[in-house]
């Protein structure tokens, strides 16, 4: 059970949040010009890294704001939380993790 630092409300229990998919996938504005394969890339393909994952969460039972989280999928360490629209921060990790 994670303890997620909502950028607007502070640390709250995972119960209060809804996971809201991988972050930093912009909706293409030229979908009509894209091939089925390119569109499928946007629609279906998601990263599943062992390590840092950039993802969206929504504070569903709190402020109802969406925000980004950089989380380690192995350890569940939360390296950063940042508001929508901000770029993904680079996360330097120690060796062996």
């Amino acid at each position: 059970m994670l303890l997620i630092p909502c950028p607007f409300c502070g640390k709250r229990d995972e119960h209060e949040f809804t996971y809201a998919r991988e972050a930093h996938i912009a909706r293409p504005t030229n979908g009509e010009q894209m091939s089925d394969a390119e569109w499928a890339q946007y629609l279906f393909m998601r990263k599943n890294p062992k390590g840092v994952h950039y993802e969206r969460w929504m504070h569903a039972k709190g402020c109802r704001r969406y925000f980004n989280v950089a989380r380690d999928t192995v350890t569940h360490e939360i390296y950063a939380v940042y508001e929508m629209g901000q770029p993904a921060p680079a996360i330097e990790r120690e060796n062996g993790r």
Binding site: A26, G31, E32, E77
Partner: protein, 1008 residues
Amino acid sequence: MSQVNRLPHGGRIDRSKPLRFVFDGRAYDGYQGDTLASALLANGIVLVGRSFKYHRPRGILSAGAEEPNALIQLGQGARSEPNIRATQIELYDGLIAESQNRWPSLTTDFGAVNSLFHRVFPSGFYYKTFMWPKSFWMKYEHFIRRMAGLGKCPTEPDPDRYDKLHAHADALIVGAGPAGLAAALAAGRAGARVILVDEQQEMGGSLLSDRHAAIDGKPGAQWVADALAELRSMPEVTLLPRTVAFAYYDHNLVSLMERVTDHLSPTSPEALSQPRQRLWRVRAKDVILATGAIERPMVYADNDRPGCMLASAAQTYVNRYGAAPGKRAVIMANNDSAYQVALDLVDAGVSVAAIVDVRESADGELAAAARARGIDILVNHAIVSVAGKLAVREVEVRRMAGDGKSVTSDGRTISCDMVLSSGGWQPSVHLFSQSRGKLTWNQDILAFVPDRLLPGQNNHSVGAARGVFSLSGCLVDGHAAGTAAATAAGYTQSAGNTPVANAQPAHGPMRALWLVSSTAPLGHKAKHFIDYQNDVTAADVALAHREGYRSVEHLKRYTTMGMATDQGKTSNVNALAMMADLRGISVPEVGTTTFRPPYTPVTIGAFSGIDKGDFLDPIRKTPLHSWHEQHGAPFETVGQWHRAWYYPKPGETMHDAVNREVKAVRTSVGIVDASTLGKIDIQGPDAAWFLNMVYTNAWTKLEPGRCRYGLMLGEDGMVMDDGVTSRITENHFHMTTTTGGAARVMAWLEDWLQCEWPDKKVYLTSVTEQWAVLGISGPMARKLLSEVAPDMALDDQSFPHLSFRDGVVAGVKCRVYRITFTGEATYEINMAPSYAMHVWRALMQAGEKYGITPYGTEAMHVLRAEKGFIIVGQETDGTTTPQDLGMDWIVSKQKPDFLGKRSLQRADTKRPDRKHLVGLLTEDPNEVLPEGAQIVAELKDKPPMEMVGHVTSSYYSPNCGRSIAMALVRNGRNRMGETLHLPYEGKVVKAKVTEPKFYDPEGARING
């Protein structure tokens, strides 16, 4: 006074409070402060159960949570509970306990024949019989399952209450032995918020069984009492005895189970006035694991005879409970701690026939003391057999050969009634491991100890839990960890001095001897038990090794070692180490299996707490709920809403009532409570642009005052919701959603606005509960409304279909929408919820002369199905496009973009032979198809048959005078007129494919 093995004095039991209890139908006496195990031992009862697989007679092995054998069926009737460890059951007056897994009685058990057939129940038995031949398993499964059982589940509902609590702490300290108490004192004095838990009724841990310890110049027990008194005086410290920390989750969340009343008679007023158990979820800044260590039994021939016990357990029974597990002990050990046990036993008047030390010499301080007391010490010796089926009678000891792998012929028999063994101590690393910390092997103490912590977790193992067994080491550890936790949390007050212990005897080196040889080859004549609870022997580990199941995970699953309710607390390391010996590698190279919660079993009741029955999920009621109740409506659950289903009149069946309601709407007027509709208020200069993006049709040109039906797609092009949205003013819309989809749609819209289009000025507010909605529908609806809203112009010119008007209805300011879900002229009257009952009653009264009929959700469904209107989630299932539903008309070809648009052009969504929504008319007009029935085009004698679709909605339609159904059928629109087959319930029903419109297909009735 029948407590034959109760010592004349000593122990922490209260001899002024005698208690009476019943075990297997016989009454016995014990004292306040006893456990069931200590009371049974005091009464000379050593046989307490039968083993799982072989039904071997078993006694009490331990004095704590690690107990594998003494599993008890506790209590009676609905409160009966199986598999409770006798070592952790606090005695109360009137306690009723029964032994398990025996028939007809403990001493004569027919299941014991299993042990004669142990050659057909080797490890891997289940896997082997599953594989070949299949029929064998079918034959014997029933027999095996009945014979290989533990306790019995009660069949009645649990009458007790359970509670849940969330808490935060600067330091959660698990274990209130010397290390835990020292930590709590330090952190508490510094001012930190501390929660100290201990699974036992009394805090103090090992100090409660130690007659020699002294701290800060006080006897150990006195120091404990003073420490607890000081801790109780601290307002920020919470003491939780009888509480087990059973699970350690991510980010320092620890679950505790507090046994609030389990030590009381369950029907006493004190027990009935409180919850039975309480589940705590504690989020702690730091967790101090002072969980102690568990002694390992040695693995010797027939080491499961009743009377075979852990050495430290015997010490605890004697010192803490004043109960002797027997009269005459033989002790076998590979370390010095068992010598202290021998000394304590002798001091208490229990005779020790011999100490059998597997080491080549015993020269330590404690051994010298034992020799001085005249105890016979046999070094480099081993117990090779234990005689006595229902209780230990004698042991045979032999001198070991040099390598410890065999024994010589030099030996003798020793009569005794208990065999106490100590194979060393394994720190209780369960919670540390659950926190995903890594273990390392310490060769000096022959045990796994905590090594590296998982980043993101914060805990500190102290004292015996990290392999520091000396009293002073425990106190130093605990004090330092408590101080550090308080400092890290920002507390600056003094943590006081480190408690100082008196001098303790030094312990010499141990000998690693994981299997004590017998005179016969392993697996012959005798059994060397490793996992007592699952009946896994050393021979089974050897078999697993021979058959190639050598990795720790294979070993566990093949033999089932460590998979019983005790999770191998006394057996895992012995099994791993034996496998390491067989493979010729080190113990850490074999590794450990994963430690998982719970540490000890937790009741389902504690997990559910009060979240059961009506409290399982919130119930949402409309403002008219009480009216529906008064008029006999059963309720249908839609999401969390309770909606009136139908309103039966006296003597009516559901079918009768629904038919009457459906007919009334088509012939006169019906009234429905539609308050549960999801409603979202949408405002802002970009609101129209936003609707254009989230709906498939166009919204920019919708005039204020008008309404429009919209279909919402996921980005994959699949239908996700529908509803009517109205333009209130230029930049203000009122959206309705399905009842069940309201929250999902709200989150979906917010998601796009916040994440993808943050620059757009659109603001969403859920107004579902701010508007009550009463729908009146039918040819007389307009007439009725004109009577209660005389000031509203209702003609089709002034108030056309798909528009709304504000007006006064029955004296109440309302917003009336002309939209329909029945195909009849319909007015949906919206108002503040507090006025809903008044308006409803006014309509009922004015409508009486027209025979106004309240209708529920069932009639609503029939009415919309007659018209072929879809319900999202019923006609759709997340794989359904607008085209599949025959709703191309609502998908804009002009709009450059909307959610799902591009996906409708994917090769798969464009396929012409997808499943289409069609109507089905059964050959027999009275046959109502079951929803979900599978449809086949080509009927065969028996399955498999190719299924081409399924029924999505099906009702009897009184207006059509027959059954009607909708279905998703592959290539359905090109099958019009075709007859399809629906095999179900032993018959085959034929049905003809039609358009999914059964009544008024032209829509002529919309204006009444």
